[in-house]
């Protein structure tokens, strides 16, 4: 097959570009440690969420020196609890599941973003820094009230944090 010289050069440059992109993403995964939402969360029956030991009383719970677990039920058309408060400079494991249809939990202005699928528990771990109030929205169409679905993730100074909020 007759390949023009310029085309060979272009092909080589394309491969370099593609491999470069792959390496960048790989660095994000293994270098910086940005993990993807995956299947390590448990499975759950959407109809029995209120039998689950953690989801039945959703909220914030301290599980380590600077580590907190948050359990959130996501429904048409709200996050329960709607406002979540966590202390600054901590690690927060957010566990989410849906009682009805597919939703998302998206912290506006950050990369904390996950789908919430009935039957699955989505787990994201975020490191929060300075005190700030973040808006949370559902970005996956979930029905006629979808645009009204919003919540808050409030990162408060450590002194102000009160413990379990439900």
């Amino acid at each position: 097959m007759n390949i023009h010289t310029y085309e060979k050069f272009w092909l080589a440059a394309s491969m370099v570009l593609i491999v470069g992109f792959i390496l960048t993403i790989t660095y994000g995964t293994v270098g910086i440690g940005v993990a993807m939402v995956d299947d390590s969360g448990e499975t759950i029956n959407p109809e029995n969420i209120n039998d689950h030991p953690k989801f039945s009383s959703p909220g914030v719970e301290q599980v380590g020196e600077n580590e907190y677990d948050v359990y959130i039920q996501v429904v048409q058309f709200a996050f329960l609890p709607t406002e979540v408060e966590v202390p600054a400079h901590s690690t927060v494991n957010i566990h989410l599941t849906s009682r009805d249809v597919i939703h998302s939990y998206s912290v506006v202005g950050t990369n904390a973003n996950t789908m919430v699928i009935p039957g699955e528990v989505a787990e994201v771990t975020v490191n929060v820094d300075e005190p700030k109030e973040y808006g949370v929205i559902c970005t996956e169409y979930c029905g006629s009230g979808h645009h009204n679905m919003e919540g808050k993730l409030n990162v408060v100074p450590e002194e102000e944090f009160e413990g379990d909020s439900q």
Partner: protein
């Protein structure tokens, strides 16, 4: 390539097929018009300039916009284009016109059925609705006729593909030693991956969605049906893109005044799409729980490699244009650009569509970048991206080439070529404004698929400009696009109403500098490539699907159906009643 004694327009050569292609094109344009109108209404609703209907019903606008534009408009047009390509390059009419009109009927009937159920969502009096969006994720549930309509439409398109295979088989019997002509090769490879990939959504719709919406089964596995959708959902974009690529490869060089740079490389590109387009679907599910990170990583690598055939296309298309420009007398490193036929809307539309596609490819790489995707998933960035790809690379190419096809199909001249040029320029400019604003809005976190992106607890913070400014830019862009659409409709209608002329160019497509005889024979071995495509799909999907089915079985739990075909008032009332009951308990 002129066709000797049979020279003349396509209408002269293949009058029956021309009639069929006119039908597919007119169906396509009808869908384009209604879909574009929905787009305008959506943009005005979102920014709160004009809300003609309650926000609860916005999602019917959105479903109609997407289904009409990315399924009806695109696929009707492309089956017409491929029919033209196959018959012209094989110099042979279709095998059985009754079979052909039957698939057209399936597609038309399916579209009407789906369209009517969606439109029913606007009217409380009509017990039909399908406000589930183009992705129809369970447990959101549409009226059963929506799913039936989609299934008929897709099956009709399969039969169209088989029609082109029938033509090829018949031609091969009479021409056993010849290479497959390039346009036919492109139609066949596209058909192969289309059938392979749409099997996923066909299974989801026929085995799960239809029985479920009829009440025959209780639940469906939400993650499973979602995954089956995306099995199809990425490859479908290539189903739309391949006819545009075909036109860039076989029509653009000729309009530029020259020849296609390389036939063999064109074949390589289409083979690459055949084998790689489906095993990338999970990149639409990077943020889904229930799918292991390893599968997501593999899919990311596949997707990055899918950039290759598009980069090769960029080279070949530009090289062919340069060749044409130099044939027309262009000189210099860049001066040859001036020698191109910019006054011809067929050329300019395709060239601008290709240019915009380059930008789209890079925003696509961001989407494909697994961990980067967190920042853009389900935001308006994604919408900005696909308005550049399907909305410009595909739609603008289709509109621009209509200015060449319509005379060939009707025997009439284009009513006003200058208006045609204005139309394609207006589309490009409108899309620039709109898509740029969408990308920037998405980076600020503004969501897609939302009737009222105005929230009370926080503000969006764009990096440059303000939300109000972004809104204004989107409205300007959307309005320009709608005006461009109206212009296109006007030109088509006035052309069709005109009278026939004798002065039209003959039907044909570009010759090549490096022809099929330079292409290794193995490229034409469709069975081999289809086999590899299937093997790669099995490799990419067997384990993830097995894992998903293992977690909850084939049928759930997926949660109770959330019917979007019950009157909104009734549904909201039901929800209020349930909460009250919950409080009392």
């Amino acid at each position: 390539m002129s066709l000797g004694a049979n020279s003349g327009t396509y209408l002269d050569q293949f009058p029956d097929e021309a009639k069929l292609i006119r039908a597919t094109f007119y169906s396509s344009f009808a869908a384009l018009f209604v879909g574009a109108l929905m787009g305008l209404l959506q943009v005005l609703h979102r920014v709160d300039i004009l809300r003609l209907i309650p926000s609860e019903d916005y999602y019917s606008y959105l479903t109609l916009h997407a289904v009409l534009l990315v399924l009806t408009f695109t696929i009707f047009f492309l089956v017409g284009v491929f029919t033209w390509g196959v018959t012209t390059s094989l110099d042979r009419g279709l095998e059985d016109l009754r079979y052909t009109w039957a698939w057209y009927g399936l597609m038309a009937g399916g579209s009407l059925l789906a369209g009517i159920t969606i439109i029913g969502g606007f009217f409380d009096a009509i017990p039909l609705s399908a406000a589930v969006l183009y992705t129809f994720y369970a447990p959101l549930q549409a009226h059963p006729l929506f799913y039936v309509g989609l299934a008929l439409f897709i099956v009709g398109s399969w039969f169209a593909g088989i029609d082109w295979f029938r033509s090829w088989w018949a031609w091969k019997r009479e021409n056993p030693d010849e290479r497959i002509p390039l346009p036919t090769f492109m139609a066949l490879t596209t058909t192969l991956f289309w059938i392979i990939s749409s099997l996923g959504v066909a299974i989801s719709v026929v085995v799960f969605m239809i029985p479920w919406s009829l009440g025959l089964i209780d639940q469906v596995n939400a993650l499973l049906t979602r995954t089956l959708f995306w099995f199809f959902g990425h490859a479908v974009v290539y189903f739309w893109l391949m006819p545009a690529y075909m036109l860039w490869y076989v029509m653009l060089p000729k309009i530029s005044g020259g020849k296609l740079f390389s036939d063999p490389l064109a074949r390589v590109v289409f083979v690459l799409f055949l084998i790689l387009s489906t095993p990338t679907g999970i990149h639409h599910q990077y943020l889904d729980p229930g799918i292991a990170e390893g599968f997501k990583f593999i899919v990311m690598v596949n997707t990055m490699f899918l950039l290759l055939p598009s980069l090769l296309t960029a080279f070949t298309v530009v090289a062919s244009m340069e060749h044409g420009a130099r044939q027309r007398g262009g000189t210099g490193y860049f001066g040859w650009l001036r020698a191109l036929p910019w006054r011809n809307p067929v050329f300019t539309g395709m060239a601008l569509a290709g240019l915009m596609f380059a930008a789209a490819g890079f925003s696509g790489m961001i989407n494909a970048g697994m961990n980067i995707n967190y920042l853009v998933h389900n935001t308006w960035w994604v919408v900005g991206h696909f308005h550049l790809t399907v909305g410009t690379a595909v739609a603008l190419t289709f509109m621009a080439t209509t200015y060449w096809f319509l005379p060939q199909l009707t025997g009439k001249k284009i009513w006003n070529k200058s208006l045609g040029l204005a139309q394609v320029l207006l589309w490009f400019i409108g899309m620039t404004f709109m898509s740029n604003a969408m990308h920037r809005a998405g980076l600020a976190g503004i969501p897609r698929r939302t009737a009222e992106p105005q929230y009370s607890g926080f503000d969006f913070q764009p990096a440059a400009g303000s939300v109000a400014e972004l809104n204004m830019q989107v409205v300007i862009g959307g309005t320009l696009l709608f005006i461009s659409t109206l212009l296109f409709m006007l030109i088509v209608v006035m052309t069709v109403r005109g009278s026939k002329v004798d002065t039209l160019p003959a039907n044909g497509y570009a010759e090549t500098l490096s022809g099929p005889e330079d292409a290794p024979l193995v490229l034409d071995n469709l069975r081999l490539w289809a086999g590899i495509a299937i093997a790669l799909v099995v490799l990419a999907y067997a384990l993830p699907l097995a894992s998903i089915i293992g977690r909850h079985g084939l049928f759930g739990p997926g949660g109770s159906p959330s019917p979007q075909f019950i009157d909104t008032v009734v549904f909201t009332g039901q929800a209020i009643f349930d909460s009250l009951v919950g409080v009392i308990r």
